[in-house]
Amino acid sequence: MPYDYRPFPYTAPPGLTAPEPRHKVAIIGAGPIGLAMAIELANHGVASVVLDDNNVVSVGSRAICWSKRSLEILDRLGVGDQSVTKGVTWKVGRTFHRDREVFNFDLLPEDGHKMPAFVNLQQYYVEEYLVERAQALGIDLRWKNKVVAVDRHADHAVLSVETPDGSYRLEADWVSSCDGARSPVRGMLGLEFEGELFEERFLIADIQMEADFPSERWFWFEPGFHNGQSALLHKQPDNIYRIDLQLGWDTDPEVEKQPERVIPRIEKVVGHKNFTLDWTSIYTFQCRRLRSFVHGPVLFVGDSAHIVSPFGARGGNGGLQDVDALGWRLAAVVKGAQSPDILAGYDRERVFGADENLLNSSRSTRFMSPEAGVERLFRDAVLHLASRADFARPMVNSGRLSRPCVYPLNAPDADLPKPARPGAVAPDAPIDGGWLLNALGRDFVVLALGQDAPAVPGARSLTPNVNDHLKRRYLGGAAKTIYLIRPDQIVAARWVTASADEISAAMAAAWGA
């Protein structure tokens, strides 16, 4: 069944008839990032208004690969179980050169995590679930409210908004710009992306067919069915398959998008005509970002702040990690508990995260789309050797899939397992009655294992019974430990043992970070 696009109801906003009181936070864009931002703030007790120029979820599947970290964030927002249940869970990727498998990876080789490595789920489903959740939380969602101007002031911004019933002004202390890769707000502020644009185009198509392809990511270099170029096949729910086909730079995107051009290409990939075309698009490869994501009262989040080439699933997943890093800080600023200066921590950490995503994406792009000359020479040498020597296989780069970065924190650390070091996402583990990550989030937590947790003002204590998973992920060879974990589930500091004063000092530093 094709997706049933149901328009969300537009209602005339109060600002059309009388000036509205100044809002705490206005969110521009009701895509997955804007909606997640609104729900995250609501979870922290902060109301927001969400403005979107459209009144329907994303047309076409667009972002389809949701990483384990994104699923953990979506779980905290209340839509994790739905997303996993509906989505296609996968963890194995296979890369072929011509007809031979040259490399494969398994993204989650261990158990004891609530969320799988990845699920594939069309962006429109994720948006649908987030809209339902936002509505249940009473969030002010305003469809067909198009922001056409942003005036920045020292401590607030004034938005000019157009609706089907006319225009109005809306004031907000903070504006979260979640309006996507082509961000109109970025243009209104006169801000430019910096970085690389690659001379490469891919055709992206969703087809509906009955087939028994496994739930794996298949990527081909130079397959027989697509002369000398690259291709990707990936399964989504509802018998929808994503197919990406490299086109090269010398093709006309408008011509290549036409069904009479697309359908014969896909027939060659799947080997038959028993499919229907659901959606097509063409994209170019870009690896660019804003120099800074914080511009006075305007905060850029997601694709409006940074854009990466695909095949690493680093766009949507990177955006949700932005939400993760911004929500707890912005909520504390709005409540007056912290100075606006702490938003520099959001900027610093997510610029760092974006740069890691940009680096990985541009390396993958160079491999998939090498320039003529020496880049092509080495790429073809790696592919040639990959079927002959083990060392060349991990050099085959068909995309390095999104993993959360480890923030470079200058924080107390101890000789404990490396994956749970300060700056990393706290690894999930089963605990009595549920999962560790479900017991974290929203506030600072002092996680004490093998000892009592010192009482620390402003933090919640958690002392689960130690099991094998907790031991392996948090203790290693140690008999006891204390972790301080931020509201975004990032490890802030850790010790074998610590006093309440030491933990308080680390918490103050984490707010300032």
């Binding site: 160079r366 020496v374 040639h384 050797l385 002959r388 020597a389 060392f391």
Partner: protein, 63 residues
Amino acid sequence: MALNTKPNIADADGFYAKLLAIHRGLNEAQSHALNARLVLILSNHIGDAEVLDAALALARDGV
């Protein structure tokens, strides 16, 4: 000694990027010359005749 064909570079993506970067701005002849020098430098570092013979054979395989 046997030729090690198992992955042996900790950050293979980073090394690959450096390998491309060192060629930036060179024309084709200059790139060929750089590659030749690199092969000679690494071969000397390896030294072991058995390893070098195996490497030569692997590089020629399938051509």
